[in-house]
């Protein structure tokens, strides 16, 4: 495996980690099977690409993308809470609708950003540093929040909803808040990837949920999630390992078109491994 492939894998892995954190929040803290990632990630990318091609600087385009994707997360939560639609179905419906919205926003299926000044440059080390800094700015405040009174109540919502109700915790409010935060993370990842690739395609979100989920599960399989610290490290570790495994598979001759089959197989293997270990996925 070449050094380029390893470094490229690290870059992609760090962005994938942001998605894995976005998936971890509803799946692990709210007991909410949220599939919004497939729609919110390209929505973030589309908005960022359109903003930047219109001359808006990346420092403004990224927060706009995050807010819009966050609002999409709120919509998923409200559809589930107000209309009693199954959480997965709510995510699928919104992700399907987001495809058309993204096309409307972009005006065409893809946008090239080679002439736009984004966050990233030609120096790979500098690019990695920026992604690490952004990841730290997202994850550290969230880790601190989880250790406050509010964070403890937030975690209780998914772990024991009946106890949470008994403690007068509003499951609805915390679910809306959690899905908003998860949505902003998907939007952030989308806006970073289009800047890294200098290109936005309306189809970038297809299967992204399964990549993020695979990362989360690989991380949890490696270090577990018995403690809060382990749970918070698992998405990052899993995403980095997952991208390197993909790189190894490609360098060994796996066709890029077979990657989705490969990803699905990894997810199934991790599930089988966890089930045999007596843990729920």
């Amino acid at each position: 495996m070449s050094t380029d492939l390893i470094i490229n894998g690290l870059q992609q892995g760090l962005i994938l980690a942001i998605i894995a954190y976005g998936i971890m929040i509803p799946f692990r803290f709210l007991d909410f099977s949220d599939l919004t990632a497939d729609g919110a990630y390209p929505l973030g990318g589309a908005i960022c690409a359109v903003c930047m091609s219109s001359g808006i600087p990346a420092s403004i385009a990224i927060p706009i993308s995050m807010m819009c994707a966050g609002i999409m997360g709120i919509c998923t939560a409200l559809i589930h809470l107000k209309f009693r639609v199954n959480s997965m179905l709510a995510g699928i419906i919104l992700s399907t609708m987001a495809y058309s919205v993204n096309l409307r926003i972009m005006g065409r299926p893809n946008i090239a950003l080679f002439d736009c000044a984004g966050l990233f440059g030609a120096n790979i080390g500098y690019n990695m540093l920026i992604i690490v800094a952004i990841l730290a700015v997202c994850v550290i405040p969230f880790a601190v929040f989880l250790r406050t009174d509010f964070g403890l109540r937030f975690r209780a919502v998914g772990l024991n909803p009946s106890l949470a109700r008994q403690q007068k915790i509003s499951i609805e409010k915390y679910t809306v808040f959690g899905l908003f935060i998860a949505g902003t993370m998907f939007g952030l990842a989308g806006s970073l990837i289009v800047q890294l690739q200098n290109y936005m395609d309306v189809g970038i979100g297809v299967g992204i949920l399964i990549h993020g989920l695979a990362s989360l599960m690989i991380g949890e399989a490696i270090i577990g999630n018995a403690t809060l610290n382990r749970q918070l490290v698992a998405p990052l570790l899993g995403a980095l390992v997952y991208q390197q495994v993909q790189g190894i598979a490609l360098s060994m001759g796996l066709a890029p078109s077979d990657l989705k089959f490969f990803t699905g197989s990894i997810v199934l293997l991790v599930i089988a491994f966890k089930k045999n270990g007596g843990k729920n996925v």
Partner: protein, 238 residues
């Protein structure tokens, strides 16, 4: 104070109401034990008091928040959270944007007061403890929540005899100290006689026995057992 006036409850598909007009008034700080055969609808009454079920008719007045401990320890605790996190969660009616670990020394003192050596597990996930130890923590959480009314639904029934005695002694002591208005369901007639200021018995959705004061303190298990069998025999005849 807990006041229940003519509370009725039916379930769809069941011909007659399961609660047939319950009247019960508990004074501030009163400790009442509730006994009755399976199917006497003790738990239904408890769920109506806690707000889990809505009564079809009647009135319920509560002087403050209600906390409860049920038989299933998994419902009252979060095994993957540490003991500190569980207990800190129970006292957070007014959460703040500060670290919950600020409660640590206070929580450790509370656990020490149990006198069963659980304080060394304060930072361990609750799941590492035995069922009895977790139920003790669940009871402590209910006591710690600042509620005025405490509901106990067979909270010692899944424990071994030693742990049952220990938890009942702790419960009775804390209820007295905090002046909690308490309603405790139990199938253990010894506990029903030994603990509490008052004893009520339910039979087929009605309160059929209400003993308090001197009569309660002089109550013998044999006479309680006699009453219990009298109602059971009646239901066999019907």
């Amino acid at each position: 104070m807990l006041e229940i006036n003519n509370v009725k409850k039916s379930f769809s598909g069941v011909f007659e109401p399961v609660l047939k007009g319950i009247d019960l008034s508990l004074k501030e700080g009163e400790f009442c034990t509730l006994i009755g055969a399976n199917g006497s609808e003790k738990s239904t009454l408890m769920k109506i008091i806690s707000g889990e079920y809505l009564a079809d008719s009647g009135e319920i007045r509560r002087s403050g928040e209600v906390s409860q401990v049920v038989q299933d320890v998994n419902k009252g605790t979060i095994p993957s959270m540490t003991m500190l996190e569980n207990i800190a969660l129970s006292r957070m009616k007014m959460p703040r944007f500060s670290f919950y670990k600020r409660h640590r020394s206070e929580v450790v003192e509370k656990i020490k007061s149990l006198r069963i050596g659980l304080e060394k597990f304060v930072d361990q996930p609750l799941g590492v403890l035995s069922g009895g130890q977790r139920q003790t923590i669940a009871t402590l959480m209910a006591m710690n929540s600042g509620s005025k009314i405490l509901l106990l639904d067979e909270h010692t029934s899944a424990l071994d005899p030693k742990m049952q005695t220990l938890l009942m002694e702790y419960t009775a002591k804390s209820v007295r100290e905090q002046g909690l208005t308490t309603l405790m369901i139990t199938h253990n007639l010894e506990d029903a006689v030994k603990y509490g200021d008052r004893l009520i018995m339910m039979h087929r959705g009605r309160i059929v026995v209400d003993i308090r004061g001197r009569e309660k303190s002089e109550l013998k298990i044999s006479s309680l057992l006699e009453m219990f069998h009298k109602f059971e025999d009646q239901s066999l005849l019907h």
